[in-house]
Assembly symmetry: C2
Homo-oligomer: 180 residues x 2
């Protein structure tokens, strides 16, 4: 991802947030995190994040997905004997499909990103519309995808340690570098 792609993604993120009525300070706008997970295909596989607070006790973020964008399959493991991250996703705007461990849904409404099909292994579908939410227990594989308009999702959780997330796709690096 180039610096320019990152800036454009930040602009798009601000637009989607404003549709959800969510206001950021100028400082927060500059710090919107654009994650392409090192795959360099942001509009297909990626996620935009604003972290409001992350203390040693709790964390809160807003997540933004572009139309049909997918956050790839991962889990939050136990770290140093401390239980992994527990997180609640609450849809604020748009529609999102969340896939977690459990009986596979017969015909899912999302799709696995082309070329990465093998990196998706859980297909228990939960549809989240505005006002709907779901809590994901620690160490549980999950991935999620927005519908055609994109989505804004609030994430309430225990402390976040993104650097320890385990992705099913071995090509993924959670915190890749941005090219100048």
């Amino acid at each position: 991802m180039t610096k320019q792609e990152q800036c454009e993604a930040q602009e798009k993120t601000i637009e989607l947030l404003s549709k959800a009525g969510i206001i950021l300070t100028e400082e927060e706008k500059k710090n919107i995190e654009v994650a392409d997970f090192g795959l360099n295909e942001l509009t297909k596989t990626g996620l935009q994040l604003i972290t409001y607070i992350n203390t040693d006790r709790y964390c809160a973020k807003d997540l933004v997905l572009f139309p049909k964008q997918t956050c790839p399959e991962h889990k939050h493991p136990t770290i140093g004997g401390k239980e992994g991250k527990q997180e609640t996703f609450r849809c604020r705007w748009g529609k999102v499909w969340l896939y977690v461990e459990g009986p596979s849904t017969e015909k899912i409404l999302g799709y696995t990103p082309k070329g990465s099909e093998g990196a998706y292994t859980v297909f228990h579908e939960i549809e989240l519309n505005p006002g709907e939410q779901y809590t994901i227990e620690p160490n549980t594989l999950h991935w999620f995808q927005a519908d055609v308009d994109g989505a804004v999702v609030s994430e309430f959780s225990s402390t976040s340690h993104d650097e320890f997330d385990i992705f099913t796709d071995p090509r993924i690096s959670r915190i890749p570098e941005v090219a100048e």
Copy 2:
């Protein structure tokens, strides 16, 4: 507070939330908590709350204040050796003044509710406009008040145990009964 006053307050809460772009399910609308703290003067001293999630690790709520409504001074103490609640207030809509321990602000913009002046002892003022936030450490006295339009505030925190909150006003009961 009568059942009817409670219903009217829930309706007003839904209106203010919709101004902030916040959508609730029908079930959540029915469960909006209207706290008058047992003082029976809700429009002056009170708070409306929607608890989205409260696990043994984290909690997330949206708080709604009516115009000039005050949430009375209190703190979250250590319970059974476990540190009290740490909480982050993020203003989503309207304007709110938060008062915490620290050097008193010379001329505060809020006011202490008439007849309860003695129950307010901390006057370090923090003004929160949409997109602004502040984190309150455990066991720290605080109170807050909305400006003339009311306010919507997201609260991200460690686990919530409202029943253990300590209020400065000895008349206050956090979880009073609703009259039929």
